[in-house]
Each structure stands twice: as structure tokens, then as C-alpha cells.
């Protein structure tokens, strides 16, 4: 018979990690779960409500509106940033002194704090003093992001594209740089057109990093808060109120802790679900 020595002391080594994870993830999440099934009127006094808050949230037009805007926003962002990022990466020099200049220029937007980005665009787009706002009106466009939902949307999208396309560019560029010269040389010898080079060499080789870019941009844009909040505050009306902005309004503005907690849990599950769907789809694509 084989005897196994079991050394239980090893568990102590895992303890610090468990503690950290408990403190920064499990305990806060459980608090939220706790709030989402109870009602409270004063500290320490709780009534169990079951799924009431979830039913309220799921049947509220306000939540549907925020959710719809959220998906629309994310879809527009991804549809613009991924192809644009790839195009810019393809146009960037592969060798020479301009490489570092381009890389630094590309990295700049990523280094600016999010609320500063919001503040910058807020001023930049003001119709009476901002360069963009004033310029557009001077050119004859009726543009005022504080009053027109379409203008507000354009500005929010433009700001996100300005802020985050760089990330896609850098990732795509890293993917491109990893392609050995021999591939391009072989393609030349095989008489491939530049589209064929893109389609059969560059795109397949960039696939992995583009998956990462897509996932990162999806998660970030789905959870976007700071920049639109600073720029429009969710307005005009509710036109740029995305899920996270709506959530904060419910939790801190209106102090509806139960509603806000139920929204948080639903929001979390949605993000998780979409990421999982993405991941499995990509992995399946990888295998076949």
C-alpha cells in the first residue's frame, strides 16, 4: 500500500492570497448581494425582500433605457476602434527613428487620467469657447452637446475613440512586429497582393492580440463611467446615461440601496456572461 505524507502546513502559504481576495472581492461582493435581497430604513435594521429589487429593476423602463444605450455605445466604440486601430498600426513605420516617435504619440492619450480626459473634452467641445464646439458652429453645424442628444453622443464617442484607439493600435502593432520578415518576403515571391498579405499573413498573426484588444475594449467601454460623467453628466436628459452612471445615480443620488445592489449584481453577471461568450467563441475559433 502506498502511504502519502500529507503536510497541511502548506495551506498557510496560501493564506495571504485568500485574505487579500476575501478583502477586495468576496466580502464587498457579498455585501452587495446582501443589500440586493433586503430593504433597510436605518443602519442595522434590515427586512428580507427576496427577489423584489430584481423584479423592479428588470421591469423598469429606466433600466432598459440605460442598458440599451450601454450596448449601443459599446457596439459603436468597438466598430470604430478595432478597425481604426488596425489601420493606424498598419500605417505606422516598422523601422527607423519614427518608430519611437509614433509609439510615444500613441501612448500619450493612455497616460492621461480619465477624469482629465473628460474635463479636456468638456472644455474642448463647449460651443461658445471650445475649439471643437466653436469651430463646428463657425463652419455652420448646429452643435451643442449640452442640449442636443446627438451632439452629446457624437462627443462621447469621439472622446472614447481619441482616448482608447491607441490601446488597440499598440496591441495590433505588437502583433505586426512579431511577424518575421520571411513571411513578407515569401508573400512577395508568391506574388501576393497587399490585400492578400493583410488577409493571409497580417490578420491571422494579429488575431491573438486583437482578441485581447476586443475583450479589453469591451469590458472597459461596458463599464465606462468617468469620462461621460465628467463630460455630460449623463445628459442632456438621460441621453448619455449609461449603466454605471445610472447605477451611481440610484445608489448615491437617490439612496435606493436595494435597487442599486440588484443592478450591480445584474451588471456584473452581464459583463461576466458576455466575456465568457467572447472567450469561448474565440477559443473555439482557435481550435478549428
Amino acid at each position: 500500500m502506498i502511504t502519502k505524507t500529507v503536510n497541511q502546513k502548506a495551506w498557510f502559504l496560501v493564506l495571504p492570497v485568500l485574505l487579500i481576495v476575501a478583502l477586495n472581492a468576496i466580502i464587498p461582493l457579498m455585501t452587495v448581494v446582501n443589500y440586493s435581497v433586503q430593504d433597510t430604513f436605518s443602519p442595522g435594521v434590515f427586512f428580507f425582500e427576496g427577489t423584489k429589487w430584481y423584479k423592479d429593476v428588470l421591469s423598469s423602463p429606466r433600466f432598459h433605457g440605460a442598458l440599451g444605450r450601454q450596448f449601443l455605445y459599446t457596439a459603436i466604440i468597438l466598430a470604430i476602434e478595432i478597425p481604426l486601430g488596425v489601420l493606424v498600426a498598419l500605417a505606422m513605420p516598422r523601422k527607423g527613428p519614427w518608430v519611437s516617435v509614433c509609439l510615444v504619440l500613441m501612448a500619450l492619450p493612455l497616460l492621461i487620467p480619465w477624469n482629465v480626459v473628460g474635463a479636456m473634452w468638456n472644455i474642448f467641445a463647449l460651443p461658445d469657447i471650445g475649439l471643437l464646439g466653436y469651430g463646428l458652429n463657425w463652419l455652420g453645424f448646429d452643435y451643442n452637446y449640452t442640449q442636443q442628444p446627438v451632439s452629446a453622443w457624437m462627443t462621447v464617442v469621439l472622446m472614447d475613440v481619441w482616448h482608447w484607439t491607441s490601446l488597440v493600435v499598440l496591441l495590433a502593432y505588437a502583433g505586426l512586429s512579431s511577424i518575421p520578415d520571411a513571411y513578407y518576403q515569401a508573400a512577395k515571391i508568391d506574388g501576393a497582393s497587399s490585400f492578400a498579405v493583410f488577409r493571409y499573413i497580417q490578420l491571422p498573426k494579429m488575431k491573438r492580440v486583437l482578441i485581447i484588444a476586443l475583450l479589453l475594449r469591451f469590458m472597459d467601454s461596458f463599464m465606462v463611467y468617468t469620462e461621460p460623467f465628467v463630460l455630460t453628466g449623463g445628459g442632456p436628459g438621460n441621453s448619455t446615461t449609461f449603466l454605471s452612471i445610472d447605477l451611481v445615480k440610484a445608489a448615491i443620488g437617490e439612496f435606493n440601496l436595494g435597487i442599486a445592489a440588484a443592478m450591480s449584481i445584474l451588471y456584473f453577471l452581464m459583463t461576466l456572461l458576455v466575456c465568457w461568450v467572447f472567450y469561448t467563441a474565440m477559443m473555439r475559433g482557435e481550435e478549428s
Binding site: A186, K188, I189, A192
Partner: protein, 369 residues
């Protein structure tokens, strides 16, 4: 299929090359036969890949011209030159199947659909990849991928030349042998002009009809494997080809005698050494033997003897110069008094590393071998 002419060709990676050292490839004039199998052999950094890329059109030479069948192609693209090239690492199109990979160069050239089908099927058959024709190329082993790279070149029957840049580097030893055999077979079948870059002498000597030995940006000798072995034109060729390489001993030459470390060796022919040149005597380890009895010879001391299978290699010192001598099977060495005798028909005299031509056929003593 084409005859390739290098006309005063030179290349430097610097924009304004001044000295000879700036040139990765020093000026050369050569004519390579249509349908020949050439190997470019040399150590890393000797310019062999540079020369290959100039021939394929991936690189435009700084000076000189390159002609295919008399037509100047110096500034033409690889596609216009109609050449195929196989690289060190297999290049395959990951998302395509094996068959699609082979179709690709033909489809890009607008070849007829049925013709493509026919050629691809034939090539799959030749490469023994028919069973995997519809598999994603990404999933194959390195040697199968390299076969595809090769196949993409060969599937175009009309290529002017097929160039190989150390194609067997990443291949397992036993697959190396198989692929090399396949290459020779394909060469015999299609009679393409083939140029094969390698730093492995075995690969070069077994693949090529003519071996082009390169050293520091220069072609130091072009010859058949036998010529390179028997009569190296440059001390580098002597040293690089053969295992172990040629023994090179500093000497003085006077007509048909060479003096090595105070010992006079009577040569087979007379030489006229240019004044001031650094003179050396080169002799292969195969052409030196230990003297027996009282036949004279140059005294040496034995450092070590390695058994390498069918023969032994003696490492000896001749008045401070290291030499290798191949000792045939069965020969018994005396325990003291080691002297060596040179086969003077097989000795060469080198002035500043280049082989001197004999001026007078001498009446030197001949040893029976």
C-alpha cells in the same frame, strides 16, 4: 530556368561605403549555368544570404548588375524575376489548408482553375502530403511545413531559379536526409537552377554540383566537391571543407623546396613566390602520414589520438605548429621517434591565403601511397 550572371556585383548595407570593410559583398563576376545545383557555403556573416537575396530580388545591390539569361533584372521584383525562395524557417499561410497553400502562388498569377487543381494534386503527391491536403497547415510538423514552403516554389513549373536559405535548419536529422534526397530528386526531374545557402559542408557537398565557398564577403572558390577537397584555392576553403580541415604551416619557398620550421621539404613542382607575401604550406590530414623505419621525415610530438570510427586522428605538434594527421585503420604507431612524411603531390603553397600556381613542374620525390 535560367542562366544567372553576376556582373561586377557588390553590396554594402551602408549608404556611402568607403573602405572594403563596408561591403557585405565584395565585387564579383560569375556566370552560373542554367539547371545547375549550386551551394553557397560559408560561415555566418560571410555574405551568402546577402548574395541570395540579391539574386532573388529582395535586395537591390549597391553596385553592378544581375542578369537572367542575358536580361538585366537588377531592379526587378522577385515576382517579375519569376524565382522561388525557401527560407530558413517554414513560411506557411496559417489559415489556409495544405492544398490552398500550394494553390496560392498559382492563384495569384491567375493560372487556370483546372490547371491549378492538376498541378497542386501532383505536387501533393510528390511531397507525400496528399492525405493531409485538406488539413489546416498550422497543425503540421516543422518538416511538413517546410515541405509546403518548398512545394509553393516547385508548383510553379516555369520558375527561373529556386533559392534555398538554409532550409533544413529546423528539421530533425533523419527528416533532413529525406528532404535533401527529395530535393535532389526534384532537381533531376525539373532541372531548375537551384541555389542553396548553408553553413553545413555535408549539406553543401551532397546537394550541389558546384559549391561556392564564401568568406568575408568574397567568393573564394567555386568548384565541385572533389576540387574543393583536392585543390582548395584559399586557406579558408582548406580549413572549412574537410574534417578535420587542412593543416596550414608557415613556410619559406625557394623554387621547388619549402622550408617548414627549419625542415626542408622537396615539393612536386616549383613556385615563384611574390616578394613580401606571407607564405604557407597547406596539406590535408589525409595526405600526411607517419614515417616508418629510416625513410626520414619531419619530427613531431603527438598530443592526442582520437578514435573517430574508421580511422584515428592524431593531433601533433610540428615545431610549435598544431597539425592533424589521419592514421589509417590498423597502422601501429611506434612509441617513440615520431616523424611525418607529406604527400608532396597533394601539398599546396599559399601566398597571403591564396593558392599559388606552380611555375615549373618539379622532379620532387614521390612517395608511394
Amino acid at each position: 530556368m535560367a542562366q544567372i550572371k553576376l556582373d561586377q556585383l557588390a553590396h554594402s548595407y551602408y549608404p556611402n561605403p568607403a573602405t572594403a570593410e563596408d561591403f557585405a559583398l565584395k565585387e564579383m563576376d560569375y556566370l552560373w549555368d542554367d539547371g545547375g545545383a549550386y551551394a553557397l557555403l560559408g560561415p555566418s556573416g560571410c555574405g551568402k544570404t546577402t548574395l541570395l537575396n540579391i539574386i532573388s530580388g529582395l535586395l537591390v545591390p549597391s553596385r553592378g548588375r544581375i542578369l537572367f539569361d542575358g536580361e538585366d533584372v537588377t531592379r526587378k521584383t522577385p515576382e517579375e524575376r519569376n524565382i522561388a525562395q525557401v527560407f530558413q524557417f517554414p513560411v506557411i499561410y496559417d489559415t489556409m489548408t495544405v492544398a490552398q497553400n500550394l494553390e496560392f502562388p498559382l492563384a495569384n498569377r491567375g493560372v487556370d482553375r483546372s490547371e491549378i487543381r492538376k498541378r497542386v494534386d501532383e505536387m501533393l503527391d510528390t511531397l507525400e502530403l496528399s492525405a493531409k491536403a485538406n488539413r489546416r497547415a498550422q497543425r503540421l510538423t516543422a518538416d511538413e511545413k517546410q515541405k509546403i514552403s518548398l512545394g509553393r516554389g516547385l508548383v510553379r513549373y516555369d520558375v527561373n531559379a529556386i533559392l534555398f536559405d538554409e532550409p533544413l535548419t529546423v528539421i530533425d536529422p533523419h527528416m533532413k536526409w529525406q528532404l535533401r534526397t527529395k530535393l535532389k530528386e526534384l532537381h533531376q526531374r525539373f532541372a531548375h537552377t537551384m541555389i542553396y545557402v548553408t553553413h553545413d559542408q555535408t549539406e553543401a557537398l551532397t546537394f550541389a554540383d558546384k559549391v561556392v565557398v564564401m568568406y568575408e564577403g568574397e567568393v573564394v572558390q567555386i568548384g565541385t566537391p572533389e576540387e574543393l577537397f583536392e585543390r582548395p584555392d584559399h586557406t579558408f576553403v582548406g580549413y572549412f571543407i574537410g574534417s578535420p580541415g587542412m593543416n596550414i604551416l608557415p613556410c619559406e619557398v625557394n623554387g621547388n623546396t619549402a622550408v617548414v620550421a627549419g625542415h626542408t621539404i622537396t615539393l612536386d613542382a616549383g613556385y615563384h613566390a611574390p616578394p613580401g607575401a606571407r607564405l604557407e604550406l597547406g596539406v590535408r590530414p589525409e595526405f600526411v602520414r607517419f614515417a616508418s623505419g629510416d625513410e626520414g621525415g619531419v619530427p613531431v610530438s603527438i598530443e592526442s589520438i582520437d578514435n573517430v570510427g574508421r580511422h584515428r586522428i592524431a593531433k601533433v605538434q610540428l615545431a610549435g605548429y598544431a597539425m592533424n594527421i589521419i592514421v589509417p585503420e590498423g597502422q601501429v604507431l611506434s612509441s617513440t621517434d615520431h616523424r611525418v612524411v607529406f604527400d608532396t603531390r597533394r601539398c599546396g603553397i599559399y601566398a597571403d591565403d591564396h593558392r599559388l600556381d606552380a611555375t615549373v613542374a618539379g622532379q620532387g620525390m614521390r612517395h608511394d601511397y
